[in-house]
Each structure stands twice: as C-alpha cells, then as structure tokens.
C-alpha cells in the first residue's frame, strides 16, 4: 500500500515481504505544479505494471488522479 504526494515530495511505498514491512520512497514524475495524494494501488494481473488512484490539486479545485508504474497496460 502506498500514499504520498507528487510535486517535490517523494511517494512512500510500503511493501510486505518475508514477514515484514519495508518502506522506500518512490519518485513520481508529473507536472511540477501538480500535487496529489494517491490512496489506492492495484497491480495489473499478468504483468509488471501497477495503477494508483487518488486526487490532485487542492480544494476547491481538485481532480481525480490516476498514476501508472511500468508500461501502460493495453
């Protein structure tokens, strides 16, 4: 599970493996003026890509945000 911010801050991903949780920052690329928070992750079956969903911007101008890691699943 991961959550974090775009912009100048890293996205922190937590990964459970071998009986423990580990965190590492993950760089997210995007428009410099786009800030957002991802609240959900989903791996793509049969591939190495993953989607993340959340929101970008700040109230009262917030839009939905979809992030992708790896190749675009098609």
């Amino acid at each position: 599970m991961g959550a974090g911010l775009l912009g100048d801050q890293n996205w922190r991903l937590w990964h459970y493996a071998a009986g423990g949780w580990a965190m590492k920052p993950a760089q997210v690329s995007g428009p410099a003026d786009l800030t957002g928070l991802a609240s959900s992750l989903a791996s793509v079956p049969g591939g190495t890509s993953a989607w993340a969903a959340g929101g970008a911007g700040s109230y009262p101008n917030q839009g939905g945000l979809i992030l992708v890691e790896g190749r675009i699943p098609t």
Binding site: P31, A32, V44, G47, G64, I72
Partner: protein, 139 residues
Amino acid sequence: MATTIRFPRTMLLASSAAMLVSATGLAAAQATTPTGWRVGATISISGENIDLHSVAAVAAADAWAVGSATGKVTGESTPIVVHWNGRHWLRVSLPARILRVIGPSDTVSVIGARSGRGALQRALLARRIPARHADPGLV
C-alpha cells in the same frame, strides 16, 4: 530530493466534454519512459471536485477506479466510477440513487448504498458485467 521529470503539457489531454484526460499521450511516450510512477490520467468535471479512493485491475485492459464528485457550489457528493479499457479512462454510469461507492474489490464489485423508502439506506453490491459493456450490473 526527488527528481521530477516534467511532462509536456500536451500529454495531458483534456477532452472536449471537460470530463476525462486520456493516457494516450503517455502511452505513446512510454517507449522512452517505461518505468517509474507517472501521471496516467487526471479526471476533471466542470464544477466538481473529484477524489478517487480505490482502484482495482482485472486485466491489462480492464481496470476500475471509484471515488466521489463533490459539487463546488452545492457541496453534494455523488459517486464516480471510471474504467480503463486499454486506451482510455472513461466514466461509467451507475444505477440511479447510488449514494456512495466503496469498492472495487479484486473482483471489481462495487459496494455502496442507495436510498430506500422511509429514508433508509440499503446495502448494495454492483458488479461489472462481462465483455465490453460499460455499465456495471446489479446483483
């Protein structure tokens, strides 16, 4: 600390209906940026604040995200569901009177609630129907 790769503005393609931004431009550019987290799409609706809170992927060309759209003036919140068809994230219509969606789960069922008689809310499970149909089916 983080290295930010700036996307050309043209990669964020707002639709004429002011609804969704497709990932087409991103897909075209993936040959040079195949890895790392990056913006796949942003979703906007005129006059609404959008927040997506859950995403699930069934297959490469079949992923779902759900959230809420809140009117900037009215403050009223309605559920929103978007679907990845392998080329675009597109909004999917929901059955009437759905108040909130909580899913999707791994099977892309959408759990929510809708108003009933006497102002009661009833639990609801909506499930996607197979093939290429856009709308989820009720079960």
